[in-house]
């Protein structure tokens, strides 16, 4: 038979307090999960667009920040790159915001528009692989609409006509991409339409240059060659580099990244304070018992263990409901945002938050344990 699990008995003896403590820990765990979930969605969406573009090397203006805030640069640079060894194909890429009118409510809202040459196999989405897609993009004033665009943009049925940027526009079909934090909705149009909608913008000024490599070519090496050959008015990225660039933009230079990062820290502190509060009250109420233990001949080390065990038990008991609620809210978020805010759980985050939870509770345990070990055994007689 082992030791009497005094920590456990102390915890369950006060049901209400245990419930409050577990709820407190679970709440902190939930907050941490939500903030990390949003942070994760932020980085996921930052890479979504690139993972759907069939190119290995990207050119952009040095003044561009991320996909939705780019500056234009001469298309000439792209043609220069075409001559470099290992380059199979170069494709211009245009982007711009466009006010889209919801035909049902009459309200306009900004869509993010990608413009491509219909001949170029820019996108990897299955809908864009259909031969009809190319034909649709050639039709005047016809666009493809992102089915993950917010419902506020209105119906997305093929053939629907509405107004965008003072022009009549027809929905020619749909694709599934998601605009993430940068855009509430996206459109794809052919370059000739792009020129019409955004006149007088010329097509020889592009937002991104997409470079598809020949099979077997090394993207890093080609990117290096391009860097040495192209003038300073363009930046060269591999796919991994441009994704990292956009992630860095969102995480480090926007308030969004800061808010969620701060959210994690605040949740951790709140959790620590809650657990400390609970443990402290618990220790205060059991102080005569701790003094008695010392009078009987137990050492501080034992009291230390009891308090730490209580803290770890709280961590374990609070983590599970926190995780389950977080999974529920993740689902809810994905549904509420029609899939455009892809918060999703992964093992790494589950383990990371579990470690955070145990750290949180241990920290509170360590702060409050001094109260328990300060119990004076001589007090038992008074």
């Amino acid at each position: 038979m082992g030791r009497i699990p005094l920590a456990w008995f102390n915890l369950v003896n006060e049901r209400t307090r245990l419930l409050v403590a577990v709820a407190g820990v679970a709440f902190a765990v939930l907050l941490i999960f939500m903030n990390l979930g949003f942070l994760g969605a932020l980085t996921t969406t930052a890479s979504t667009i690139y993972s759907q573009i069939d190119a290995e090397v990207f050119l952009s203006s040095p003044q561009s920040l991320e996909i939705s805030s780019t500056r234009v640069f001469p298309r000439e640079r792209l043609y220069q790159a075409a001559g470099v060894e290992g380059v199979d194909r170069v494709m211009p890429f245009y982007s711009e915001y466009l006010l889209w009118r919801n035909p049902e409510t009459g309200n306009s809202r900004a869509m993010f528009v990608y413009g491509i040459n219909p001949r170029d196999p820019v996108f990897l989405m299955p809908e864009l692989q259909e031969p009809t897609a190319r034909e649709i993009l050639r039709r005047p004033n016809t666009v493809l609409i992102d089915s993950l665009s917010r419902p506020e943009f209105g119906p997305q049925t093929t053939g629907l006509e509405t107004e965008a940027g003072q022009r009549q526009v027809v929905i020619g079909g749909q694709y599934t991409l998601g605009g993430g934090f940068a855009a509430d909705g996206t459109l794809i149009m052919g370059d000739q339409n792009f020129r019409r909608f955004f006149a007088p913008r010329p097509l020889n000024q592009i937002n991104l240059g997409l470079i598809k490599l020949a099979p077997g070519a090394n993207p890093d090496r080609v990117a290096d060659t391009l860097r040495s050959q192209l003038p300073q008015d363009v930046q060269v990225f591999t796919k991994a580099e441009i994704i990292a660039n956009d992630e860095r933009f969102w995480l480090q230079t926007t308030s969004i990244g800061f808010i969620f990062g701060l959210g994690v820290v605040v949740s951790f502190v709140v959790g620590t304070v809650i657990v400390y509060q609970i443990l402290y009250t618990d220790i205060r109420d059991h102080l005569p018992e701790y003094a008695t233990l010392k009078a009987m001949g137990y050492r501080n080390y034992y009291l230390f263990q009891v308090v730490l065990q209580e803290a770890l038990l709280l961590a374990g008991l609070g983590y599970i409901p926190g995780l389950l609620t977080a999974l529920l809210l993740y689902d809810l978020t994905v549904n509420a945002t029609a899939g455009s805010l892809p918060v999703s759980m992964n093992w790494g985050r589950m383990i990371f938050v579990m470690i955070l939870t145990f750290a949180m509770c241990s920290l509170s345990g360590l702060i409050s344990v001094r109260r328990a070990t300060s119990a004076d055994p001589a007090d038992v007689f008074s």
Binding site: M1, G2, R3, I4, L6, F9, N10, V12, N13, H286, P288, E289, A291, T292, L293, K294, A295, M296, G297, Y298, R299, P377, A378, V380, F381, S382
Partner: protein, 267 residues
Amino acid sequence: MENNVGMITPSGGATTLAPAQDQSLQPPNPDLAVQIQHLDYFFGSGDLRKQALFDINLALPRGQIVIMTGPSGSGKTTLVSLIGALRTVRQGSLRVLGQELVGLGERDLVTVRRNIGFIFQGHNLFESLTARQNVEMSVELTGQFNTKRAQAEAMLGKLGLADRVGYKPNALSGGQKQRVAIARALVNHPQLVLADEPTAALDKQSGRDVVTLLQTLAREEGCTVLMVTHDNRILDVADRIINLVDGRLASDTSPDGYLQANAAVTC
């Protein structure tokens, strides 16, 4: 030291001055469970320093049941907590079960405590544990995990609580709780039991029962008992009665002698 000497009033009777103390110590006597010589004790420090015990000299032979009485605030609890190794002592000599406590650090004091059974006025049982588990907490200190349950139940049985082992303190009466506390104190067969007003929170009858049980078990185990009490009705369980007044030992008699002396005062 100056302060110490200054606080001993001439009427105190304890006239041995500090420098001479060490020379006047008796050698350790193995027949004594407790051997106290020239023990002073102070609370606080600096201006707030207050002497609670003055030159206590006391020897408790093994197996003796001793009752300590005295007015409130006379230092009884302080003396018991010193003998119980619950406070560090710096002056005089205090031998408990052969071990000198003066000068011992916290670590060694804890070891001494494991050989002593404590019974408190507030029973100080763990509300979250059953009677048996409370007693087992004591046995666990000895590392006897395999037999702890049997030992706890046997001791509770001796105290008439065989049918209450699974009850939590909340479900027990005051007398039953105090008997659980006695079981906890005695289960490791300590050679010394210290009790501070164990009957104060009990009614007359259960107080009497508890003390009688304690006496019987102590005799069985041959252990020394030092019990503080104000309760005149239970003095007869003692072999000896000592009286503490204002931090000094005022009398040391047999129960009969004590009763006669007190009767003389009240008449």
